[in-house]
Symmetry: C2
Subunit: 342 residues, 2 copies
């Protein structure tokens, strides 16, 4: 009997805010295990990762990555289990992380280096390889360690602080002796950022209607100014941070969700880059594969020993992925957004 | 008979565009050579340097330096000759560079390290120590070598290309095998930048009314995109450059003349920092004294051997300094703006 593989394709490109109608759920047949070619591995995906970068891929314009092709399975990170293998490197039952996309099963040519990684779930939960011990964690690690490079006693501000990336940034900053101040949307998220993740303070941006108000809140929580800022958001928050930036401060620019849906949001006072001798650097973590082993080692150890905490928002079943993704873009998730597929 | 020292003081702070009424010419007595204290040196200034940074000092707001105090001699670099000395390190007739300010004579406590430097005028003209072999030259060197760090074959764009800083940037870029494209105001300056300084191309920004037009001109002259940009100006030019910036491009931010007189000019599309994984870094060359010896050695050798060319606009007499300075801010100078005092 042929098993059914559900997939979600990009059906159309959004104009402005995306909607569920940009996606299409389809059924295909799961490849027959007996028909695998040499080197192929069949993986059943357990979790799909939803990440802000996917919004950029939905557009056709110039971005840091190729656009997601129409009518193909949406790109996405996955963790799962090998259910059939004709590769010497993988056996049935192995837990693996890869880029399986928005689907339940994936057929992988495991002879291609790096497309599938075996992971150890003895001390680290499988889903964490999509979050704190995966791309989001390494993203936070890279921006903090390689760009912000905080000294003990410095102040690091992080937007989207309750998320998978931001949570890692603040906890890694604390581990280096820095003061960590989060920015998040809502009292619940802020309480979690301080009480569970251990940040020194967290500002609820929803309580601040303009740059002046947010900047005043930053002044109160960053009495010695801001030395490093991990930018996940863009727009007004960056403007407010720049007004409190210290001389020689560093901004790691990782996400600009605020500007994804339409017109770019200007940076109000670029002369502050000069006045404060700031460094602003954009980066994409997949272009720095050389740091992944070092980063994953620190992140894996911290998670296994309970020192790096995180939270997950889990949507149930592949069909729930589009709604969960749209919610992520609006900040409705709380922690790492996953879709549970099994 | 007591000799007269003319000085120009900052009389008031400008609101918006500065005018000559912000300055005041006064007469004081030149200190009596016989009355010098131990370690003091009396210098007669031959040239005063006028530089855009002085505009920032006229304001009272937060900037990278202390504001120029009111009713004190305007700050400024000078070259001159020792006319009296009670320092073992300086003798009458020595040529020196220092921060003598807008005045004809200066009394220096030469025991303070670094306030006065003896210079060799055998191969390098005295005035060049205020330009190509002085602060402007080192400014260009630092931004190009330490921030842009161009590889052979890359394209470096420089605004204010006919000026003391910009001219050095382009010629140093060419010396490193990069393509140098200038931006300057007017056909004369552009011709000079290409024909005399040896840039590959130069764009007359006065021919371009908007970002789109300037960006199209940059596309034509930078067929492989822009890898490095030396920012002397701010405003529309930076926006246009960013539209042509390559992945991993670097912006050295040295001046933002466009925004000095009032409201900051926003950066239109900051998301391009992320999209193109750019690095934007502001700097002030006086905070990097460790590079001066290396930079001055290269610059001095290039000037002495005729390989680094520059031009000077020379105003005559101290009283002409305010008008010359206002002209500099409007781009009316052609090359390094000096005031000849003797």
């Amino acid at each position: 009997m042929t098993q059914v593989n559900h997939q979600i394709l990009l059906a159309s490109r959004p104009t402005g805010e995306p909607g569920t109608d940009n996606f299409k759920l389809v059924e295909t047949a799961v490849p027959d295990a007996a028909a695998l070619a040499d080197g192929q591995v069949l993986v059943r995906n357990h979790y799909l990762s939803l990440d802000p970068y996917m919004r950029g891929r939905m557009n056709d314009g110039k971005s840091y990555a190729q656009p997601q092709p129409l009518n193909e399975v949406m790109i996405g990170g996955t963790v799962g289990e090998v259910v059939a293998s004709r590769s010497a490197n993988f056996k049935v039952g192995d837990k693996v992380v890869g880029m399986g996309g928005w689907q339940e099963f994936q057929l992988v040519d495991a002879s291609q280096r790096g497309v599938l990684q075996k992971v150890d779930t003895t001390h680290v939960p499988l889903s964490a390889y999509l979050g704190a011990v995966g791309m989001p964690g390494v993203t936070g690690w890279y921006g903090l360690v390689k760009i912000i490079d905080p000294k003990a006693g410095e102040t690091v501000v992080v937007s989207a602080a309750s998320g998978a990336v931001g949570g890692a940034v603040g906890q890694l900053a604390k581990a280096r002796g820095a003061r960590a101040v989060g920015i998040a949307g809502g009292a619940d998220k802020c309480r979690y950022v301080v009480e569970e993740l251990g940040f020194d303070a967290c500002i609820d941006y929803k309580q601040h209607r303009d740059v002046k108000s947010l900047s005043a809140a930053l002044k109160a929580d960053c009495p010695n100014g801001i030395d490093g800022y991990f930018e996940n958001v863009g727009g007004m928050i960056l403007d407010a941070v720049m007004l409190r930036a210290n001389a020689f401060s560093r901004v790691a620019m990782c996400g600009m969700i605020a500007g994804y849906n339409g017109e770019p949001i200007p940076l109000s006072a670029p002369q502050l880059i000069l006045v404060n001798r700031m460094k602003i650097e954009g980066f994409i973590v997949s272009e720095h594969m050389e740091v992944w082993p070092e980063a994953l080692k620190e992140l894996g150890t911290l998670v296994a020993t309970g020192k790096l905490k995180y939270r997950e928002s889990v949507a149930d079943g592949l069909a729930a992925a589009p709604e969960a993704f749209l919610g992520l873009l609006k900040g409705r998730n709380f922690g790492k957004q996953l879709v549970k597929l099994i």
